[in-house]
């Protein structure tokens, strides 16, 4: 136990006394945690850019985009077409596209279709964006559903209120109709009770006619007497005319007084009877007219009430007709969301492949670059190379070429094997290989720089792995880069891993031509050139120092060995 402790103490001392080892062992994890803490200690999605396409950016569309803005999403509007938005997803400048209808008002039983376009290769981001954006849609959907339901309920309430009003009218109309009914019944009974039977006696009509004519003449003569009297004639003349007229009247009277009187009496009797009946009928008709008038009035009211009811029903009908959305599904879910993958349906391996490929290349090249430099630095032949007439450029290039040969072999193997799993991607292999070649060059040079900077192989390897981890953690592969604050994201966007992975993804998954990504490719190539020049400068500055250190190390080693030999 004591020995273990003793050895452990010794190991720790050795580790801490080697300056760089101590720095890497102690500070690298601290730095890593610090960086991650500063970057990801937030739940915000700072950098998610949502592309919104709508045929027209109406008020409710803008209202919806404002909802998204509340979530700190950056909104980019695409009024022309969804294709340009999809193209930007492929380019990585937009994370999701939403294709919206002209407006979000539901006007009929058709659900409004909202399509999300996502890049499935960015798995960790897709779900986050999708869920967040969908939740916003759910809020909007709920609002609209509520509006629709409220509309229906308002109209139902109006109908109910109108029906209640009309119910009173119906009762009143019913009472009035009943009264009219009674009136009509009474009139009917009365009319039924009328005796309109004519007397059955027969009359000698010629006698009757004569009697009639004589009576008529008599009346005319009487009228003439009245007119004469009323004419204001002199009394003598008047008397003369009256006496002239009295003669015929007397003749007629005497005629009438003869046998013709019975007939007239009989007629008069019948007439009296008829007159009585007519009088009774007139009374009945008069009372019926009153009843009928009352009934007519009642019926008029009933008619008015019914008209009002009809209007009310029409109103209710039109209100109910104005309800365009009656489909329960549309009311409950006015929006139907659809997810479209911009790269087409593929397996997860397809989506992960670019990141995996770059990951393998990054760690392989960085470690290999470091190892190759360390091998050369620690090689017993290191000193001999000091004398050979070979430029530093050639030495560095040879290390680089060695690395690239190894990596190209790896790339061929990886791409070859990947053909078994990911078919129909052969067409993009040329471009992918070129990107990987440039990316591998950058990582090789980074690895080589680490190799030149550190003396101990273990420290250099640790530094390579640490730096690789930093590249990985700030690449968006593990945690979405969009979750880090903007300034860190801006720095991370220049991460060579991010650039390489983005290029491979675009070419591999979306089949984008390299000409579309010349800027990123140029940045990567620029890195490679700058790093190469940096290595050249570093080599010029450090080479003598390295040789000196190398010699010193060996010199000290031999001295110690001599001492040991002497002691033996």
């Amino acid at each position: 136990m004591a020995a273990i402790w003793l050895l452990t103490i010794k190991n720790i001392k050795l580790l801490l006394r080697a300056k760089w080892s101590a720095l890497i062992v102690i500070f690298a994890p601290l730095l890593l945690i610090l960086l991650l803490g500063l970057s990801y200690n937030t739940s915000n999605s700072f950098g998610i850019v949502v592309g919104v396409y709508a045929p027209e950016f109406t008020g409710d569309i803008n209202e919806f985009t404002n909802l998204l803005k509340e979530e700190q999403f950056a909104i980019r509007e695409y009024p022309e077409s969804i294709e340009s938005c999809i193209s930007d997803i492929k380019g990585g400048s937009v994370h999701t596209c939403i294709s919206l209808p002209k407006n979000l008002h539901v006007q009929d039983n058709t659900q409004k279709e909202i399509t999300f376009y996502v890049d499935p290769s960015r798995i960790n981001l897709v779900w986050m964006v999708q869920e967040t954006v969908k939740s916003k849609f759910n809020i909007k959907s709920q609002e609209i559903s509520q509006e629709l339901t409220q509309d229906i309920l308002t109209k139902v309430e109006d109908t109910r209120s109108q029906l209640s009003t009309q119910s009173t009218n119906v009762i009143s109309a019913k009472e009035k109709a009943s009264a009219a009914n009674e009136g009509a019944s009474s009139v009917a009974q009365k009319l039924q009770g009328l005796d309109l039977q004519a007397p059955e006696a027969t009359y000698n009509t010629s006698e009757a006619n004569l009697t009639g004519t004589l009576s008529n003449i008599k009346e005319k003569l009487n009228e003439a007497v009245v007119i004469v009297k009323d004419a204001g004639l002199e009394e003598s003349k008047e008397d003369e005319v009256v006496s002239a007229l009295a003669g015929p009247v007397n003749i007629i009277n005497s005629f009438l007084d003869s046998g013709t009187g019975d007939l007239l009496t009989k007629l008069q009797t019948d007439l009296e009877t008829v007159k009585g009946k007519l009088s009774a009928a007139a009374t009945t008709v008069s009372s019926s007219a009153e009843t009928l008038s009352t009934s007519t009035s009642s019926l008029q009211e009933v008619s008015t009430a019914l008209e009002a009811m009809q209007n009310s029903i029409n109103d209710m009908q039109s209100k109910l007709d104005s309800l365009k959305v009656t489909d329960a599904q549309t009311i409950s879910s006015p929006f139907v969301t659809k997810i479209e993958k911009v790269s087409g349906e593929r397996t997860y391996l397809n989506y992960l492949f670019p990141a995996l490929l770059v990951l393998v290349i990054m760690f392989s090249t960085m470690l290999l670059g470091t190892t190759l430099v360390m091998i050369e630095k620690h090689s017993p032949a290191f000193l001999r190379n000091f004398f050979v007439p070979v430029s530093k450029f050639t030495f560095i290039t040879s290390t680089y070429v060695t690395n690239i040969v190894m990596i190209v072999t790896q790339i061929i193997v990886i791409l070859g094997i990947s053909l078994f799993f990911i078919k129909d991607t052969l067409g993009s292999f040329g471009s992918v290989a070129l990107i990987l070649f440039i990316g591998a060059s950058v990582f090789t040079f980074i690895g080589m720089i680490i190799g030149y900077l550190f003396m101990s192989e273990e420290t250099a390897t640790l530094a390579s792995i640490s730096l690789g981890s930093v590249f990985l953690l700030f690449s968006g592969v593990i945690l979405p880069l969009e979750a880090v604050p903007p300034f860190i994201r801006a720095i991370a966007s220049f991460n060579p891993f991010v650039l390489t992975e983005k290029l491979v993804r675009e070419v591999f998954l979306f089949g984008a031509p390299l000409s579309q990504n010349l800027l990123d490719l140029g940045i990567l190539a620029g890195y490679a050139i700058v790093l190469f020049v940096a290595i050249l400068i570093m080599e010029s500055l450090l080479h003598k120092h390295l040789v000196h250190k190398f010699m010193h190390r060996h010199h000290v080693f031999h001295r110690q060995r001599e001492k040991q030999m002497k002691n033996i």
Binding site: S379, P380, A381, F382, L383, R384, N385, F386, F387, V388, P389, V390, K544, V547, H548, M551, H554, H555, F557, H558, R559, R561, E562
Partner: protein, 316 residues
């Protein structure tokens, strides 16, 4: 003809002088030995000549072949370095390359054409007796073989100057002799050799010139005899088999011009007036009287004695 000249060279590390005012001349064809204790500065001196480090003060100059026009070694190192072969204390080889591959690799880096290089390699392999091992990985070779291969790698481009740092350290006496012999052969082919070693015997056997360095200062340098001259003894010691023979010898020596003879029991310490004459007569006496010589301590001091004297004097 001069090959390398050091003029008042001083090298300091963190204001501490490791070498002080060193002035030396190495001529073409020399086997120049640099001797000194560990930490005396001999490796620093070698590194200065090899171009690894630059002097803090002073100058190291190089004379191109057939020219007396000197060139600053460090300023023109890129042109000069191809004329230098360097064999450090440790082997400077690629362990995972074969004997032939190592030679080929370094030969090609010196831009030697393939045909010439093939011939050079074959000659070197035969010369160093490594031909049969040419397909062995260098890490599979014994220590002596590795040293020979290392030497071959330093010679593959036919340098004018071969610098060796402790070439015989870590080797057993037989291998040391082997290497010494090899170096003599290399020198015969016209290669100037500079050797730094604390194996004084090796240096004494092979070098025609020597520089003794102690605490960063060159105390003496030049041809071996010139170095020895100030340290020549005024006496020599002889020991014969018996007392009778000793007495006989004393009697015979008395007639010679000898200042004094000190009898030390088993041996006699003789202080001659004329050393050459006395030595000649001594050998004649031994031969005539058939004396059995047990030991003769010559008057010429060994390098080791000179070195010890210098270090002791410096300490005092």
């Amino acid at each position: 003809m001069d090959l390398i000249r050091l003029r008042e060279v001083t090298k300091e590390y963190r204001k501490r002088a490791v070498l002080q005012n060193v002035s030396l001349t190495i001529e073409e064809g020399d086997i120049f030995g640099v001797i000194g204790q560990s930490g005396s500065g001999k490796t620093t001196l070698l590194n200065l000549i090899a171009g690894f480090i630059e002097p803090t003060d002073g100058q190291v100059v190089y004379y191109p072949e057939g020219s007396t026009k000197e060139k600053d070694l460090h300023r023109n190192f890129s042109q000069i370095k191809r004329h230098i072969g360097y064999t450090p204390q440790h082997n400077s080889l690629y362990p995972k390359l074969t004997v032939q591959e190592n030679l080929w690799h370094f030969g090609r880096l010196y831009k030697i054409d393939k045909q010439t290089l093939t011939t050079n390699i074959r000659n070197l392999l035969n010369f160093t007796h490594l031909f049969d091992y040419r397909h062995f990985l260098s890490e599979q070779l014994s220590g002596g073989m590795q040293k020979r291969l290392d030497l071959s790698c330093s010679l593959v481009h036919k340098p004018r100057l071969l610098i060796l740092d402790e070439p015989t350290s870590d080797l057993d006496p037989i291998l040391q002799k082997e290497i010494i012999h090899l170096l003599q052969e290399v020198n015969k082919q016209g290669v100037t050799i500079i050797i730094a070693s604390h194996h004084l015997e090796s240096i004494e056997n092979i070098c025609n010139k020597v520089a003794i360095i102690h605490q960063g200062k060159v105390h003496t340098h030049g041809l071996m005899e010139e170095v020895r001259k100030p340290y020549l003894k005024d006496h020599f010691t002889i020991r014969v088999r018996s007392v009778e023979q000793k007495q006989l010898l004393i009697d015979k020596l008395k007639v010679l011009p000898i200042q004094k003879i000190v009898d030390k029991g088993n041996s006699l310490v003789i202080y001659p007036s004329n050393i050459e004459n006395t030595m000649a007569n001594l050998l004649k006496i031994i031969k005539e009287e058939n004396l059995f010589l047990h030991d003769l301590d010559l008057r010429r001091p060994s390098l080791n004695e000179i070195f010890e004297k210098i270090t002791t004097d410096a300490a005092n």
